[in-house]
């Protein structure tokens, strides 16, 4: 694939790639740049490419004049709870599927393989009815509970547990360790990187989820950031700096999670696609 020596064509290709990457990120940059402008500077022609000195008015405005902080808190609580519960329960279930014997094991695993392909959106109507019956609409329970069971996490963890040598468990059992201890003292540490990877993927996915919060919440104080920010925007009318400021704030947790844990995110996506 490689010719060894750097050729003119190779250099041209690299330059093209770099330019393309910069262009690819330009929309994200443009959102950031706009958020740092005074509202009047957003609509001048020609557009201001580098807002200097940066102007934080838009951020101050949305934090003071909208429940943005509350939505942030809602989204943090929801995403952290979903991630924690999902990972914990999936680990336990995957361990049982991988190492323990019980009636219904095969049926459960087979149903997970079907279940992970069911599109969530097509179950939105019965789920909403169920939430109404449980009185979960506009509550954290309603936001969190339906997002906890992720068959994919169980499937991935089971595959990784299957590859842990059986001797590890046998030896620990002889030493009198409980299954619970074996899972959290042996299987978890051995598979730490994939557990971490799945946690980040699930956190990002839950933070970004739009459809479910849209359906299960309608009172302003219970909205999550991705849903709430669209409300703010329609209230502002033409206010691009403020719109972009909400976008910057909404993106910080997931963008930071990706930039800090790039390798893990990649690993998680490979595992989720079945490529390991």
């Amino acid at each position: 694939m490689k010719t060894g020596k750097t050729s003119i064509l190779g250099i041209a290709c690299t330059v093209f790639t770099v330019i393309l990457a910069i262009a690819w990120l330009f929309p994200v940059y443009w959102m950031g740049a706009t958020s740092l402008k005074a509202e009047t500077d957003t609509i001048v022609n020609p557009p201001i490419l580098f807002p200097w000195p940066p102007n934080l008015d838009a951020f101050v405005y949305i934090i003071q004049n909208s429940p943005f902080f509350r939505w942030y808190l809602n989204t943090v609580i929801t995403s952290v709870s979903v991630t924690f519960l999902c990972i914990l329960f999936s680990l336990m279930c995957a361990y049982a599927l991988s190492r323990l014997e019980f009636w219904g094991k095969r049926i459960l695993y087979a149903s997970l393989l079907v279940g992970f392909m069911l599109p969530f959106a097509t179950m939105a109507v019965p789920l909403f009815m169920f939430m109404t019956q449980l009185n979960f609409v506009n509550s954290f329970a309603g936001l969190i509970a339906p997002q906890v069971a992720t068959p994919l996490a169980v499937i991935v963890f089971k595959q990784f547990f299957d590859e842990v040598p059986r001797d590890f468990r046998d030896a620990a059992l002889i030493d009198g360790a409980s299954e619970f201890k074996i899972l959290f003292k042996i299987y978890l540490p051995v598979n730490w990187s994939i557990v971490w990877a799945m946690s980040i993927i699930i956190f990002i996915g839950t933070w970004n989820n739009f459809l479910w919060p849209l359906i299960v919440t309608n009172s302003t104080p219970m909205l999550t950031v991705p849903v709430g920010m669209t409300q703010v925007q329609s209230a502002y009318g033409v206010a691009f700096a403020k719109i972009c400021a909400t976008g910057v704030l909404a993106s910080i947790p997931t963008a930071a999670a990706y930039i800090l844990f790039q390798k893990r995110v990649t690993q998680g996506i490979m595992a989720a696609a079945g490529l390991k």
């Binding site: 279930c93 149903s111 097509t122 739009f210 997931t254």
Partner: protein, 296 residues
């Protein structure tokens, strides 16, 4: 069966299986309540005239009968298929292209890869409202600014759906790129060396080594894309809400409107069932077609 000795394997197995149920229990509770139950209930609901609170009675196949003659539904199916056509193959091809570009690099590889992937981790409403709608704004958007035009892009019947597709590709192609990078890295270097020894030039090596060996990954990406794009909802809801003049009403948006605006829970469930059926049939057909091709 002989009675098991009190301390024999039988007893041990029972104890173990109680431990197993304790491990499976928490997941199973959420799984059954919030995934299995809704999945079963949507089938039943589609056979009722329920409202959105779930009140109604069994009406047999009446919803499906209505669906078959519901022009709006078929228009929505058509729009969804149009969106699928606009995204599945282009998104796969662009992902493959970006993967090839990124893998050529050495020191720049990681930053460039991140640049292409970053949009994928942004919330959909950021992508639509803060990026797409702002950049393509009719009066102040930078795109119109550069072109010297005043086009209301998402208000244009011809552009709206390709516009949604364009935004979707920019947003999600990083995922496909990652899968292709993994696939390309799995191709043994020896194959390229052997081909080079046989006198194959760069283009020939790409055509006769890379292409056939990347096919399994490509067909995986195509299937994943197909399933993902049939479920188009968020971007359309946020960018156009089905407009202009219904040009971008897709199946899930139609379902959403029937359920949460018209209050027709039963009928919306039938729409959901139809979408599941379409996805299953199309992905089976695609899997069959792709497998045939890979054998050849």
């Amino acid at each position: 069966m002989p009675p098991a000795e009190p301390n024999g394997p039988q007893k041990k197995r029972n104890r173990n299986s109680w431990v197993a149920y304790a491990f499976v229990g928490p997941f199973l509770l959420f799984y059954v309540l919030f995934l299995i139950y809704p999945a079963v209930r949507v089938v039943y609901l589609s056979l009722t005239n329920s409202d959105i609170a779930g009140l109604g009675h069994f009406i047999g196949l009446a919803n499906y009968h209505e669906l078959v003659f519901d022009q709006e539904f078929w228009v929505a199916v058509g729009h969804t298929v149009y969106f699928v056509v606009l995204t599945v193959v282009p998104n796969t091809a662009v992902g493959f292209f970006l993967a090839l570009l990124v893998l050529r690099l050495k020191r720049l590889r990681l930053p460039i890869l991140s640049a292409f992937f970053l949009p994928f981790v942004l919330p959909v409403s950021v992508v639509t409202n803060c990026i797409a709608l702002w950049m393509l704004d009719a009066n102040f958007g930078i795109v119109n600014n550069l072109l010297g035009t005043n086009t209301a892009w998402f208000g244009d019947v011809g552009f709206a759906m390709p516009g949604v597709a364009l935004v979707t590709i920019w947003w999600t192609v990083g995922f496909n790129m990652l899968l292709f990078i993994a696939g390309l890295q799995n191709i043994p270097v020896e194959y390229y060396e052997a081909a080079a020894l046989d006198g194959a030039n760069g283009f020939q090596r790409f055509l006769f080594v890379t292409c056939p060996l990347i096919w399994p990954v490509a067909s995986l990406v195509l299937i994943l894309q197909l399933i993902a794009q049939f479920k188009i909802f968020d971007q359309v809801y946020l960018l156009t809400f089905g407009g202009p003049s219904n040009a971008t009403t897709v199946v899930l948006l139609y379902m959403y409107r029937e359920a949460f605006q018209q209050g027709r829970g039963g009928y919306a469930s039938a729409v959901a069932m139809a979408l599941v059926l379409i996805i299953v049939v199309v992905s089976l057909v695609q899997a069959r077609l792709l497998r045939l091709k890979s054998v050849r």
